[in-house]
């Protein structure tokens, strides 16, 4: 895969879509040159941050490092990104380790050409024309984008919500169900509503916790 030193014009920004196959890329990271396809078989949280050596991003990186072991148990890898250089990333990682005692064990892309940021629509010119916004892409083990969350520069991400979404998606995949508002692991899940009159009549007899024919839950 070729790399380019040209900065990609913002006009060519494309936005990924839910349930679409992710575009592959090759990029320099703090762990050397990686391709997104190197993560095939694992889930990936691809996330961007505005800039190294900034306070909100520092709290986020420490928070991501904190949930990394739990993510690992769920076969989820982290992959960060900003337009800073690899040298800047390395210096910042070392600074976080020195000042806060937190080891950032996941790779961070040095996207100084904005190649990946443009591919994933991580630069939102109204938020910042030069920095990547706080974007989160949850990609499943088949390389499909399952969730996209965008936060503005001023607001640090919520790790509880990211963990909750991962657990909800994996539960949905495993059991063929959906999850209700504010669902947490252990809560009942939503049984997909019936699509025909016949199955609607059958549904209420199937032993689920049904409030009505279209609203049934079960434990998993």
């Amino acid at each position: 895969m070729e790399t380019t030193s040209e900065i990609t014009p913002l006009k060519s920004v494309t936005l990924p879509r839910l349930d679409s196959q992710v575009p592959d890329f090759e990029a320099m990271t703090t762990h050397g040159v990686l391709r997104l396809s190197d993560f095939k078989g694992s889930w990936v949280i691809l996330f961007s941050h505005p800039a190294d050596f900034t306070p909100v991003c520092t709290t986020e990186f420490m928070a991501f490092a904190e949930i990394a072991p739990e993510l690992k148990k769920r076969k989820v890898e982290l992959l960060g990104l900003s337009i800073d250089s690899a040298f800047s990333h390395v210096a910042w990682m070392r600074n976080i380790k020195e000042k806060f005692g937190v080891n950032i064990g996941f790779p961070v892309i040095a996207d100084s050409t904005r190649k990946v940021a443009s591919l994933y629509g991580m630069i939102h010119p109204e938020d910042s024309t030069t920095e990547t916004s706080r974007c989160v892409f949850i990609i499943d083990s088949k390389g499909v984008i399952r969730t996209m969350i965008y936060y503005p520069l001023s607001t640090g991400r919520n790790m509880d919500e990211i963990m909750r979404v991962i657990e909800a998606l994996q539960t949905s995949d495993q059991h063929g169900v959906a999850t209700p508002a504010n669902w947490r692991p252990g809560d009942s899940v939503i049984v997909p509503p019936p699509q025909t009159v016949e199955s609607a009549e059958q549904r209420v007899k199937e032993g689920y916790e049904c409030t009505d024919w279209y609203f049934c839950k079960k434990a998993v």
Partner: protein
């Protein structure tokens, strides 16, 4: 060549992968043997395959004579 450091010696990951590939095996088995994430193994193997330190056959990899020599040199 990123699988070697500035002084020409193998990186820690490259060394671990080469040691694990002294007998032909899959990258998943290398990940288990080295306790390194599979994505790191894949990236390292790609570089070392290009550098002819490894050969691939039916999705399994094995160290070459050049790879063994590089490993011995450190």
């Amino acid at each position: 060549m990123p699988c070697v450091t500035a002084d020409g010696s193998l990186t820690e990951v490259a060394r671990a992968v080469l040691i694990a590939l002294q007998t032909r095996t899959s990258l998943e088995a290398v990940a288990n043997a080295t306790d390194l994430p599979l994505f790191r193994i894949r990236a390292s193997v790609r570089e070392m395959h290009t550098a002819e330190l490894l050969t691939e056959q039916s999705g399994e990899y094995e160290i070459t004579a050049k790879g063994a020599e590089t490993l011995e040199l450190g």
